[in-house]
Symmetry: D3
Subunit: 161 residues, 6 copies
């Protein structure tokens, strides 16, 4: 039976840290579904369509990675995809706390799914999308943190703004 | 002299984690005042009246627990109640930081009051009201986390919404 | 019914941090038993008799504190004393981890006993017996950390050595 | 290609926390090698033969788990087994630090292997072999923490001692 | 060559914790520039002019401290000032995480600048501007946390409100 | 007045992480004294003479770094050198705790000296001498972690052993 895993997130925008985790997951499992969260509560910088497009471009060389949208309960979504695990990137302590909380809550609701924590390369330890957006807003060079076509999109966003 | 303690919080809504702490405090001290915070800055899901009602129902079998409302400075409120201590539930690291900060600040202002940290059962380690509200909003079953009559209230809230 | 609590430790030697916790516990409960651990695995600097004597001298002004020796399982000892809780001083993160671990293990074995965490004054946040011994060994002045008669005992120990 | 993973440790003795991690790993991957560390520096309570026997008994119902001994560098051993990942159980913060350190050091030496962190059930969050040995030495009941045949072995050890 | 350092922040308002860090930095380096952040995203309690005035009053006895305003990227600002380092006060774990993240991001963008962490006195370990504002709003006495002229300004703010 | 700082440690052996901290300190201050600790309690892998020689070789290109030996109380030693600060490398959380403890204890004894925390490059975040010794003992290649002449010394040590 094919081993399918879900890598959920907001990806606003996708970073090299996310890609490092996707690469590792794609090596370990048969299929990785990058599941972009539709979150009514927060206004993202990039629209859902833009975020999905940027991820698709970033993963186009992986044969076993697909990109999808989800809303509602992660655990229900994971079941609908026949996933055996949820992938989370672990960076630092603050992450760790939150991720544990989420993983345990998911488990309470559905014992049949496991959370797998993967550690991105240490050069991405302190990288996240919020910082990338903040740096881009201040016109800093973010090409060490996101792919070239994301840099361009960010530059555009903050030109218009 | 009767040993009175205060257990302050927002309780939006009360969870099994809170109840576990209340149970322990009720065993250790003569009287426990569950003090619900009137917080102008945040809009709670449940009104003050609803929150107080849910707590009253949840603690109706405890003979030495009462429910009250407070606003203003916790330390002044505690003194007005002749309390000897403030009870806090300790869950995980992030809690720990914040609780320490609050406890020390309270102490600076009033040396005569101590903060007592109680640890809820480990099955509630990662439980909090925010997560319960989020799960209920997504129509997840939260009956492992809150009493039956709170489940019903949450179901109602998110039906109307 | 009288509320008895146990404050266990090695107390090698007792510090102002320990005394701060004892003071708080004595205010909150009817009786505090300071229980000195007989630990076959470690060689303490002070003998059991010396440690007990130093604690007795340090707590002689408290009417509801007694000093005792224990070996074996803390939870069995606590029951034999009709204690309703175990007191632990919480200092910093590393403590927190270890104390949680111990508290949960104790609870697994005996649901009927609770661990109560008290926070010493922030000026004692980073104080422990190991550091006091190390500083005394290096002839540093430790009179900010331990009572005068403990300073004298330490000076003696490291003169003889 | 078959996905093989290594779960290394001292297992002195194996606990329900370890078994929970093994169960999860066995669901996620094609083969799990439980690799018992021959560590010259520490004297374990159980001999290597005893530890291997206890693990074998504990995993006898898993068709895709095998038990092996290793010494030397974990990364070399993993390669010799054609493993694609090393499995580590994540419990609490202190673990997290150490595990990160080890995972990064392994990666420096061999980029081709990933560390996968799995979280045992929260009821095992604070469980480890050291605590089990300590509790057994003090004649506490450890049957909530280790399988029945490990309880018996521990009872024997501490009768003889 | 003169050693110039930057101490950036929002200072809404300046506290004794900040002043303790400024004092230490002024002893270690030739010049300290306290750089107040113009942050479009947050509405501070005090205007930029008020914050700068309060800092200037607080540091008027230091001969090698100046106060300045900055917006944009911290690293660009530091370079324009010929600074060799950025000063950060380290308080507790949550700080530590965030500060590491910021320091590493700054380094990625400009290898030539170092972040220097100074630890304020332990009595300020849990002090920050947010707590001071909250306490002042509730009419608590904050004279242990901020200079007298800041107390007065806070009292004024919350009288008008 | 010349700004002198002390960088104390065991340096058993010196690593690239230490050198990264020394480099930063040498840029910030007029003179850096690398002070090697004579510790009667632990048996180091390298003798004091060997450790001093390796550090001297490693810092020979810095004009303002000197190497020295100390025993006794760090704070007394720092004063005897007219140092204005003690330098510590901050790596991860566990470090942080210990370093805070030490820094506060030093401050209690001598208010006139400050601890300055510098963060090594993130690629050295999880590097320490213990891990280097352990890897070398297992014949792993440690040339990413220590200078070439330290690699050779380590290879020799573990050949003889």
């Amino acid at each position: 039976m094919s081993k399918i895993v879900i890598y959920p997130g907001t990806f606003d925008p996708i970073t090299f840290g996310h890609l490092d985790v996707i690469q590792r997951a794609a090596d370990l499992f048969d299929k990785v579904v990058v599941a972009v969260l539709e979150n009514a509560a927060k206004t993202p910088l990039f629209t859902m369509d833009e975020r999905v497009d940027l991820i698709k471009k970033a993963v186009e060389n992986f044969s076993n990675v697909e990109v999808d949208i989800f809303h509602g309960l992660l655990i229900d979504y994971a079941k609908s995809k026949n996933a055996i695990a949820i992938i989370r990137g672990l960076r630092a302590i603050s992450d760790f706390e939150y991720e544990f909380q989420m993983a345990l809550m998911n488990r309470k609701i559905s014992e049949g799914i496991t959370t797998v924590f993967l550690m991105p390369h240490e050069k991405y330890t302190y990288l996240n999308s919020t910082i990338v957006r903040e740096l881009a807003r201040l016109q800093a060079d973010v090409s060490d943190f996101v792919p070239k076509f994301v840099v361009d999109k960010l530059t555009n966003k903050f030109k218009k703004a």
